[in-house]
């Protein structure tokens, strides 16, 4: 079925799952899992064979059995055959040509999104170069709303991430204010709590809510605790804007996270009931990342990029405000160096956007990865060119709680300046009103603190 003859050699890849893994551009996690191509020729042979596979085949051959995996059932059961009809005759190779062509306009891509499965988009991404991934993603447009509008053309939003090693309220507030004064925080003000317990979560939820209300900031808050903790917080009357959860692309991996589709649905309904969104009700925030299923020993023989794309089917079901691929956090045993991290980030962004998700990226690395700030600048710039929805904003790139490096407030300003990108319109208006930005969205030249925050700082007796 998946046979090819190249350079005097014959290859028979037997299953679609095997073919997908062998066709994947080289990365350490697939070798750790033992599914990667043995050499360059085998990889390119798999890519040739994959290009000949009809899109329809992905509806007939489940990569993880339907009976044993609820993510597969979700993908198959909710597939929209009417949306799929215009492209149903294409092979993966044809699909790449079609995506790059003028036939695939923004409107057309939006219309077919529900007809695409994660495996189809993962497959086509494997035979695309970085410029292809950028060009097609740039044509996709996904907008979402809660208290502001995320994902409009020529806008780039930021998650303000004011983490502190012990959740000290003054420490969180210090990073939060620093971020706001650098124009950061329109995607969400989102804290990773140092400890995942209900008391800490409640304290942070109330704190963020008070800040957003007091200063009338058109944004939303999130405390990135486990979904069950957030559900408890809702039960106790806490002001929950966005429900957070890490998700993965197999049922087994989600089991290891302590979640399933029912639980996510329950959490979404609970948050919707609070009715805290003013412009819209996209109330979920998901994080993903290549390698997470393998690290839970739950990859089901899939390559890590296909696993990742399947997580987007889970995300899509719950109409999230934001989806964040935390690309370099997992470490070098999954993505070894800057080259692998960069490609993975752009693949994830492409796959998410094509499936209709508000895709952002935590452009990041750990200190044991072969990566540095230069690599992050390359990925950040390429993602922004591709129309990435949001990035992280962390003081000086250094997350002092999670111990990794991500993008800084300065990075967001850089990429907005060189590419002419703006924050979400409601947040942009607020920044200008408070005198943080001028009418051209530049930080004001004076080093003074805007009037709104002066009183708070004066209390500290500076």
């Amino acid at each position: 079925m998946y046979k090819v003859h190249l350079a005097q050699l014959s290859y028979d890849f037997k299953t679609l799952r095997n073919l997908m893994a062998k066709a994947t551009p080289s990365r350490s996690g697939d070798y750790l899992a033992g599914v990667g191509a043995a050499n360059n020729l085998e990889r390119v042979a798999a890519q040739w064979a994959l290009a000949d596979v009809p899109l329809k085949q992905f509806l007939n051959e489940a990569l993880v059995p339907y009976e044993q995996d609820e993510v597969t059932r979700l993908i198959i059961d909710e597939h929209d055959s009417i949306a799929f009809a215009p492209i149903s005759h294409l092979t993966i190779g044809d699909f790449r040509d079609w995506l790059l062509s003028d036939l695939a306009t923004t409107e057309v891509l939006t219309a077919i999104a529900q007809g695409l499965t994660p495996e189809m988009v993962a497959a086509v991404s494997k035979i695309m170069r970085i410029q292809d991934l950028i060009l097609v993603a740039k044509k996709c447009r996904v907008t979402t709303q809660f208290r502001n509008t995320i994902g409009l053309e020529n806008r780039l939003s930021t998650r303000l991430q004011p983490n502190h090693p012990t959740d000290n309220p003054a420490g969180v507030a210090a990073s939060l204010l620093d971020g706001l004064l650098y124009g950061c925080g329109d995607a969400v003000i989102g804290i990773n709590p140092a400890s995942d317990n209900i008391e800490a979560t409640l304290r942070l939820l109330h704190m963020l809510n008070e800040v957003i209300e007091r200063y009338q900031i058109p944004t939303q808050s999130c405390v990135l605790a486990h979904v069950t903790t957030t559900l408890k917080a809702i039960e106790q009357g806490a002001p929950v804007d966005l429900v957070f959860q890490s998700i993965a692309g197999t049922q087994k991996a989600n089991d290891s996270f302590g979640i399933n589709l029912n639980l996510l649905n329950e959490a979404r309904l609970a948050a919707l009931e609070l009715g805290r969104g003013t412009l819209g009700n996209n109330c979920m925030y998901f994080e993903t990342g290549q390698g997470s299923a393998l690290s839970a020993n739950a990859h089901e023989g899939l390559d890590q990029q296909t696993c990742e794309a399947r997580a987007y089917a889970v995300a899509r079901k719950f109409k999230p405000l934001l989806v964040n691929t935390v690309v370099g956090f997992i470490g070098p045993e999954y993505l070894y160096d800057g080259k692998q991290i960069i490609r993975a980030g752009l693949e994830d962004h492409f796959c998410g956007k094509l499936l209709g998700l508000p895709m952002g990226c935590d452009v990041c690395y750990t200190n044991h990865a072969e990566a540095d700030q230069d690599d992050m600048d390359v990925l950040l710039t390429q993602l922004a060119v591709a129309g990435n929805t949001f990035i992280m904003g962390i003081p000086g790139s250094d997350d002092v709680m999670l111990n990794y490096q991500s993008t800084s407030f300065h990075d967001a300003l850089y990429v907005r300046q060189v590419l002419g990108l703006r924050p979400a319109p409601e947040f942009e208006h607020w920044l200008q009103q408070q005198g943080i930005f001028n009418a051209d969205n530049q930080l004001l030249q004076k080093s003074e603190v805007p009037a709104l925050f002066k009183a708070s700082l004066q209390k500290l007796g500076r």
């Binding site: 070798y31 750790l32 502190h164 012990t166 620093d178 200190n367």
Partner: protein, 265 residues
């Protein structure tokens, strides 16, 4: 880099907030970019963290110091033959190399109660700096135990202790290992304690971890207190891991001022 006089650098008037957090806030800006000083500060921290991971461990000093204390030690290798392989294949860092295994099997083993394993992990620097001073405190506390030779492991992960403990039929397995370096803590050491460790069978759920041992983190004394508590309780309950709770007195390292959220309160 005298930024105070540099007209190209706009400083931030809220620098006093640095008292509340180790985060890199109020860095100022050159245009919208990081000023030179802040940029080089970051590069310095990253260089230290990278070197902590990549500079190979040298056990010769530790070996010498231990022999001066009258203690036997062995230097062991894992199947992760080089640094690149070690970083990409955590599984290989959990298995002893064939040569090491053959070597171990040739040595006669006397009955033992405990084995101490020292492994480079992800920070050779942590081990170079903290292993010996900690061992000087720990060893006298273990006088009543029959100890296996100290095992110094290059390119080792936490679970390498399981195979070694099993070889010596040691009831207590104590692994000192270099932790993943952060920008602010390139030399952090961790201790993993496992009761009745078994190669390929023990999991993270069977271990207790004492993390963040470095000059600005947990002190040797605090770590020792925790470890001795865990050993005592493990002997009583005959287990370790998630069912063995660390109820030794709170040793929080948060010394930051207890201010509330100044933005609203």
């Amino acid at each position: 880099m005298s930024e105070h006089n540099d007209p190209a650098v706009i400083s931030n008037s809220w620098a006093s907030l640095k008292q509340f957090t180790p985060a890199r806030i109020a860095l100022g800006r050159a245009g919208i970019s990081l000023p030179t000083r802040a940029s080089l500060d970051f590069q310095l921290a990253h260089a230290l963290a990278r070197d902590a991971v990549n500079i190979p461990i040298d056990f010769s000093d530790l070996d010498l110091s231990l022999s001066l204390m009258g203690l036997q030690s062995l230097t062991l290798n894992t199947q992760a033959e080089n640094q690149q392989l070690y970083l990409q294949r955590p599984d290989l860092g959990r298995v002893l190399s064939d040569a090491t295994l053959a070597c171990l099997q040739q040595t006669t083993t006397k009955p033992t109660d405990a084995v101490i394993v020292v492994a480079d992990g992800l920070s050779s620097k942590a081990i170079q700096q903290h292993a010996l001073p900690f061992l000087r405190l720990l060893l006298p506390q273990l006088n009543d135990y029959r100890l296996a030779p100290l095992c110094l492991v290059k390119h080792g992960r936490v679970a390498i202790g399981d195979a070694i403990a099993e070889h010596y039929a040691a009831r207590l397995c104590i692994v000192l290992i270099g932790e993943r370096p952060g920008l602010s803590s390139p030399d952090s050491m961790g201790i993993y304690f496992t009761y009745q460790a078994k190669a390929k069978l023990s999991t993270d759920a069977d271990r207790n971890c004492i993390s963040n041992i470095h000059n600005n983190g947990l002190s040797y004394e605090q770590a020792l207190k925790k470890l001795m508590f865990l050993i005592k309780e493990a002997e009583k309950l005959q287990l370790s891991g998630v069912n063995l709770k660390d109820e030794s007195t709170d040793t929080t390292t948060d010394n930051s001022p207890k201010y509330v959220n100044f933005l609203v309160d």
